[in-house]
Symmetry: C3
Subunit: 335 residues, 3 copies
């Protein structure tokens, strides 16, 4: 796969500064790019690498283009254009249509003839697999599951009974969607299971990272709206609702019935507790815990800063004395 710089400029509406006949066949970092390789400048941290780059050309913003030592595709949003060009140069491999002989497909499942069902997959009764869907090896598609057109389950994905997956959804290995929510009733010290009879709805263009889990709802569905991006090892509990185009980084936990708005970002290892609401356009920093509803867009954080361990121990002891310290200050002021 190879394009000229001129073709790429036209395909991406970029302003070309340089020779349109240059041939581009790969993408590489500023440091490592050489002949026929395109690079991009999106993070000022790497300015020195830009100045020294030997890339064939770079994708760069109007503000920065003058610093480029090589030809350039100039755009407003270099990272988005880089993404588009990468998709052109590295198209997703398409598995061939049909069911692998080692797959087990229920007689009454509906498999579009253009779908690909991989080795050792199991497709249970009533499942419906759309056009161009790729189900990777070892995946389990339970009763009544719907997978929309052009979605891809990479491998060893488990979809539990009745979950509904949109179109162009990408599920990485080990993802589990529709496991039972953690619904328990305490009956004289013994936990009784509360059947989880809701399901999960995953919108179009969602991506879910490796080993992430999304539980089915207790009564109604857990909902992941269109365009949501979930990283690896995230827990989404029953009846959570994640608004469109929200992105959540790895190791985060979203508790039951939490409602998260649209276009939010949640950094890694954060927690959103149950039964609260976060409005649109909220940004949560890494390892923060959200224990109350957030009513206003903005950035929010919690946590304490890293210190040399000896220092930390001395200061941590004081964290247990903060209220006393505050009262002492008050008393001193009153004097």
């Amino acid at each position: 796969m190879s394009y000229t710089l001129g073709e790429l400029a036209e395909l991406t509406n970029a302003e070309l500064r340089g020779d349109p006949s240059r041939s581009i066949s790969a993408i590489a970092t500023l440091n490592n790019a050489g002949p026929n390789q395109l690079s991009f400048f999106t993070n000022s941290r790497y300015r020195q690498e830009l100045l020294n780059t030997t890339a064939e050309a770079v994708v760069i913003s109007y503000q920065e283009v003058d610093a480029s030592p090589v030809d350039a595709l100039v755009v407003d949003n270099p990272r988005a254009i880089y993404a588009q060009i990468a998709k052109l140069l590295y198209p997703e491999p398409q598995a061939s249509a049909g069911c692998h002989p080692s797959a087990t497909v229920s007689d009454d499942a509906t498999i579009d003839p253009t779908a690909s069902i991989g080795a050792n997959c199991f497709i249970d009764r009533g499942a419906s697999i759309g056009a161009g869907v790729q189900i990777g090896p070892g995946s389990v598609i339970s009763k009544g599951v719907v997978v929309g057109a052009a979605s891809r389950l990479v491998a060893n994905v488990t979809l539990c009974d009745g979950v509904c997956i949109g179109e162009r959804v990408l599920l990485h290995p080990g993802v589990v969607i529709g496991g039972d929510g953690f619904g328990l009733a305490n009956n004289n010290g013994v936990w009784e299971k509360v059947p989880q009879i809701g399901s999960v709805t995953v919108g179009d263009d969602v991506e879910i990272g490796a080993n992430t889990t999304v539980d089915r709802g207790a009564l109604e569905d857990t909902v992941i709206e269109e365009g949501v991006k979930l990283d690896n090892l995230i827990q989404v509990a029953h009846n959570a609702h994640i608004g469109a185009h929200t992105a959540i980084a790895a190791c985060t936990g979203i508790a039951g019935s939490a409602k998260i708005g649209k276009r939010c970002t949640i950094a890694g290892a954060a927690v959103v507790v149950g039964h609260i609401e976060i409005v649109d356009d909220v940004h949560i920093s890494c390892m923060s815990v959200v224990t109350k509803s957030i009513r206003h867009p903005g950035s929010y954080s919690s946590g304490s800063p890293l210190q040399e361990s000896g220092e930390w121990r001395k200061n941590a002891v004081r964290m247990k004395q903060l209220d006393a310290m505050a009262r002492k200050i008050k008393a001193l002021e009153d004097r």
Copy 2:
């Protein structure tokens, strides 16, 4: 599946306020329940929904029943009774007995004739699968594993050599039980593996959520007592011991040789460090870290509250100065 309100009252020892002939065939939320649908009131947060409900009837406590606009099953513990009725109306699907033709079962494994072994399962030598057990597709049951009667492995579960699972245990997709504990010996800067020759014992009526991992013991077994409920993406390290009827929410890590009492609750994303002991009836709040043994029942927390990020940055800097601040207060007081 359908019951009259009178039948449900009798089956659950509830006091019926209303018409015993009403037919109940489903459960729904207060907001959405309509004819023939039962709802329940267990969380005062949803009082307005109760007042407006159009459910056929509700399950409710004696204290709250007067607020119900519809017929009611009145009980001491509405959530527990809701759980029981949900099990009546939504019985677990029972897979048909026998081994799926695509499953591989070792000749000397013992499979009860009433057990169900799903597609693409592998059952290794010496394994013993009890009556009514359901092993979902893609599961791996290693050498010498014992699975007690009526347990269910939903799909893609891995049980490593020799682990012992009780009766009526429910293991969700992606669960791994009996992986090697993280046992290392440092030998001049190089980590040497310490063989993990213990196993895992899981008691009766345990439920373990999707992608949770329970490691085998170093010498003796990791133990999960009866009735323990583990949510998704939890790590239980080697030789941890979790007491009966303890419930642990998602993303929590229990380190090696930690001993947790009975009837504890640990909220999400918490950490219990290794080699400590927590007595019975302890409650740990979300994202707390337990670094010392807890000798007294009660509720415990750590962590810092969420703030607008700019505010947080100003305050976080001071967390590194707490000891100095405390000393200054002391000096001021001494003056």
Copy 3:
């Protein structure tokens, strides 16, 4: 498997204090060891158990040997020697060579004749499986993957396209290596996927715990150097680089392009944010968050200590007033 105490002393260069003809056939804890069982003393927490042990013999340090009530193998590093003896007494089971009939192996994959491919595995085109490799049941080996000699994938492991695994690597169930990194470009409020065209390189003698995920690089490879030990449920993001002989405990997240030095230890549930660098020989305590580069070897911590929840709430409120408190102290001092 059984050795005399004399043989074990010779094999491990230990000083034998006692009868070389004693027969050792198992290892057990100080508490439980009996005839023919060896125990070891490595943690002063268990001194009372040493004094009461009925083990056939113990492995112990020169400093502590005088306290031993039984025969002893005396060494500098009892834990390392214990590891070596455990490997002698409990050798890893070796699966028999060849492909299980239920496995699917691509015609142009290269499988060493001494390798073992388990039930329901899928080995895709161009994969190369080295001598003595054991691929456990349900594993998926994608296109072009290389697995070095004597490595073992326990079960249900997924290796995505082109990842390169060293020799003697041990991958526990549910591990996913080479899933797409979380690469997104925001284009007017919609996330566009950035193709992840790097891969993953895993060095020799690496061990990776159950359900841990290691993402492929965006352009270049994610790198895990030789001897690294990763526990369960860890996330390693795209282009992270983990130095040789570093050990990381469970539930930790390593963000994108983080570079961690050699011989570091990171305790459980910690976070290392993206694009920072940690030098060699750094130790991070549990649930700490590393938000800046660490330039000096040493121990680092963050977090707040556990308190009774009522106390915690009073103190936590003050965490939002720390800057104000510091200013008040300053004002009082100025007076």
